[in-house]
């Protein structure tokens, strides 16, 4: 349990630092991902396609333990908070990267879904995970300005 606390913290901090630097690299560029239902520009559209990204994240044993205790008293469960925020950030970031890499100008109608992947009802399987899926419609505008 102590190991889970130590290594869990180290590992998760490393992950969020990595995400921070990746997001920093895109700073200053406009974010092409929106949840608008229509394209933001009235230009001609060359092509569009469905794009999606997903990630499964799990809280560490330590986080599940502290979350369990916190749950008795209610209130904000910080350990879960961190995990879920991280998962959602990653998935949106990945979608943005995918759109940029495939040369799309914009992603509209973004939806983010959260699902809990259940533990086995019997046995001491400690695995718990959340899955985030982000999907949207990617758009490439025609090159000609009209």
């Amino acid at each position: 349990m102590g190991g889970s606390w130590l290594f869990g913290n180290l590992h998760q901090n490393k992950l969020s630092l990595k995400l921070d630097t990746e997001e920093k690299a895109l700073e200053g560029r406009t974010n092409p991902v929106t949840n608008l239902s229509k394209p933001s520009q009235a230009r001609q559209i060359a092509s569009s396609s469905l794009v999606m990204e997903s990630i499964s994240v799990g809280p560490s044993w330590w986080q599940m333990f502290t979350g369990g205790i916190k749950n008795l008293f209610g209130g904000k469960i910080h350990s879960y908070d961190k995990m879920l925020t991280y998962g959602r950030r990653v998935v949106i970031h990945r979608l943005r990267m995918q759109a940029i890499q495939s040369g799309f100008d914009e992603v509209i109608n973004l939806r983010v879904e959260t699902a809990m992947i259940s533990k086995k009802s019997k046995g001491d399987d400690k695995t718990a995970a959340f899955e985030f899926t982000a999907y949207g419609t990617a758009i490439r505008y025609s090159a000609s300005q009209d």
Binding site: S4, L10, H11, I45, A46, S48, I55, E131, Y135
Partner: protein, 108 residues
């Protein structure tokens, strides 16, 4: 992904005109966690963070649900699916159902 099929989760295919509608199409698949992947993920769970084995498993499953939905649309003679939504639910312990649905249409 099958060629020539326009997919979109907006109400229309951007830049195209819908000429006919074929109603709701859907595709689903139920996947259980693999025992071996489970052990790896269980260990990874100790420190938390991304569980890559599950990410891949669910991505595969979602693609399959999407494929099935597209086959459904193709059999009706549609060339596009609009307003696509995904849903995930945990059925029986350790298994998840991935479900994709949308409206099959023809666009030009």
């Amino acid at each position: 992904m099958s060629e020539g099929m326009h997919l979109s989760n907006t109400e229309t295919v951007p830049g195209k005109l819908i000429t006919a509608s074929f109603g709701l199409v859907q595709g689903s698949t139920v996947r259980a966690k693999n025992v071996f992947k489970d052990i790896g993920a269980g260990l990874k769970n100790m420190v938390g963070g991304e569980l890559k084995a599950y990410t891949e498993l669910l991505q595969e499953a979602r693609n399959e649900a999407l494929q099935r939905m597209m086959m459904d649309a193709q059999s009706r003679g549609a060339n596009a699916i609009v307003n696509i939504r995904f849903a995930t639910s945990a059925v029986a312990g350790g298994a998840a159902e991935l479900f994709a649905y949308g409206t099959a249409v023809t666009v030009e």
